[in-house]
């Protein structure tokens, strides 16, 4: 189904409110919506709620043969799924431009920034490596899918435990979850995406746009950062031309947001680990 444009009233109201420094959901320009993380009973299943946007990430693994030119490298595969459940504008079996952009951006943020140690996924060089697959399902679309998906993907990877393996000579034994405690993946750093939207020819900038704000925005930019203040990716596909100091200012805002979100992810993971420990006793 074609996307339905917002009415003139909504457009004008959002723009007028931004001029007054207000947003339609009562947030300030640089506020994220409430972030909620909930874990499934399996390792590596995470549901992220960012306001009304909902994303589910599920990590799975399998043992496969590596490429001959990279015999010690494991695989990290992302798969995004945008079903009509999230928004009636999505269709089954047809990728929208938005979906391509979102999945490319997540790959860029996670893979190219080397957040996951793929060398550590090697079991026998040239023979067997782990392939880690992250399935990202979009459940409800209320804007800013990228940030929600990124948080979901990295949290799921951190939450995931793969089966333990022992190698004796040529023999490889994969231990079931009952035999040995599964092991976590080694993650170098936590990349977090922060999306900005621009209005009034760049005069007004907001963080974490909702669906309506995304429809009205003139341009956007996504910065991927980690807590060490390292920029992992910066993506700006068209929209408005920007001044350099504006980009610098937005990275500064992004650093603050990334610190907050990372702390929240870690707190949620710790709380879940504690819950698992008490339930096991």
């Amino acid at each position: 189904m074609k996307e339905i444009e917002p009415s003139t009233n909504e457009r004008e109201f959002v723009l007028a409110a931004l001029k007054d420094g207000a947003r339609i959901d009562g947030r300030n320009s640089y506020d994220f919506r409430t972030l909620r993380l909930s874990f499934g009973s399996d390792y590596g299943a995470v549901e992220v709620q960012l306001g009304n946007t909902r994303v589910l990430a599920k990590v799975s693994c399998e043992v496969i043969r590596p490429f001959t030119d990279k015999p010690t490298e494991g695989f990290l595969v992302f798969n995004t799924e945008m079903s009509p459940m999230a928004s009636s504008t999505f269709e089954v079996g047809r990728q929208t431009d938005e979906e391509v952009l979102v999945s490319r951006l997540i790959e860029k943020a996670m893979k190219r920034s080397r957040a996951l140690d793929t060398e550590g996924l090697c079991i026998v060089a040239g023979e067997k490596v782990w392939s880690i697959r992250v399935d990202i399902h979009f459940l409800d679309h209320d804007g800013n899918l990228v940030d929600a998906a990124c948080i979901a993907a990295i949290t799921a990877l951190m939450h995931f435990r793969r089966p333990d393996v022992t190698v004796v000579g040529e023999d490889v034994t994969i231990h079931t979850l009952e035999q040995r405690n599964p092991v976590p993946l080694s993650i170098h750093h936590i990349p977090i995406c922060v999306t900005f939207a621009f209005f009034h020819h760049g005069e007004h900038m907001i963080v974490d746009p909702t669906y309506l704000e995304e429809q009205i925005k003139q341009g956007d930019m996504t910065i991927t950062l980690n807590v060490h203040k390292e920029v992992c990716a910066l993506s700006k596909a068209g929209g408005l031309p920007m001044k350099m100091d504006q980009i610098l200012q937005s990275t500064k805002i992004a650093v603050v947001k990334v610190t907050e979100i990372t702390a929240q992810i870690q707190a949620a993971l710790e709380a879940d680990a504690k819950k698992r420990q008490t339930s096991r006793k």
Partner: protein, 251 residues
């Protein structure tokens, strides 16, 4: 609907609410379909969610709470959903999507866009008719709703031929709520609108399609009202008044 005696309307509510699921059948004795139930009205009126089956029984086609009003022996199911299905006679808010020589095409939240004749306004003639552009908001009434056709709309009261508040909604803001919340807001006893009205003067138009238009003196007030309405959906009376109070205090 306005002439219902409230005491009679509530006779069902004193007993335990009965939850029905799609496919549940209503016992004929209860609905007065059987002729020997002389005390009950001989005819019944079915509302949303109920459908007569081939074998003269009545079955629920929606999940919700079964409701009954003894006046006119009316039965219906009260349920909540997000997708609007057009019903003739209901008032809705639509966005103009396009215009042809004879019709405006409006999005009213249904699967297909609805049609509004260019002459379906108060006093409109071929020579003198209002002009609306793509993106305009219109408050209209559904004049025809067949399930296999696009719904047809009109912007005047068919009994008087007057505009009666139908027509373009200028400025302000629209929020999308669930259909259940929109229905409750239309209740004259609706608490949240009265609570907000005590603090802030505002205009509102509520569409049965879950679209609520709000306009007030300033953007800050409109935002507050919109959020208060959205938050009120699952709050009881006491929680509503504390929520409104805390929002107003923050201004």
């Amino acid at each position: 609907m306005a002439s219902i005696n409230p005491s009679e309307d509530q006779d069902q509510q004193s007993t335990e609410p009965r939850i029905v699921l799609p496919g549940d059948e209503l016992p004929p004795t209860e609905t007065g379909l059987v002729e020997d139930a002389a005390t009950l009205a001989p005819t019944i009126k079915l509302g949303p969610g109920l459908q007569p089956m081939d074998d003269d029984t009545i079955a629920a086609v929606k999940a919700g709470v079964l409701k009954h009003a003894s006046v006119g022996n009316r039965w219906w199911i009260e349920s909540n959903q997000r997708r609007y299905v057009s019903v003739a006679g209901e008032n809705v808010i639509g966005v103009v999507l396009g215009k042809t020589v004879e019709h405006y095409k409006l999005d009213i939240g249904t699967a297909q866009p609805a049609l509004l004749g260019v002459l379906a306004f108060e006093g409109a003639t071929k020579r003198n008719k209002p002009n609306h552009n793509v993106g305009d908001l219109l408050y209209c009434r559904i004049s025809l709703a067949n399930k296999d056709m696009e719904a047809e709309l009109e912007c005047f009261n068919p009994t008087t031929g007057k505009a009666d508040g139908y027509g373009e909604l200028k400025s302000g803001f629209v929020i999308k709520t669930s259909l259940g919340l929109a229905r409750r807001l239309l209740d004259p006893k609706s608490l949240i609108l009265r609570l907000l009205g005590k603090h802030i003067p505002f205009e509102t138009a509520i569409g049965m399609n879950g679209k609520v238009w709000i306009n007030s003196g300033s953007t800050k007030h409109t935002i507050l009202i919109c959020n208060a309405i959205r938050n009120s959906e699952y709050l009881n009376e006491r929680e509503c008044s504390t929520m409104v109070k805390s929002l107003v205090d923050k201004l």
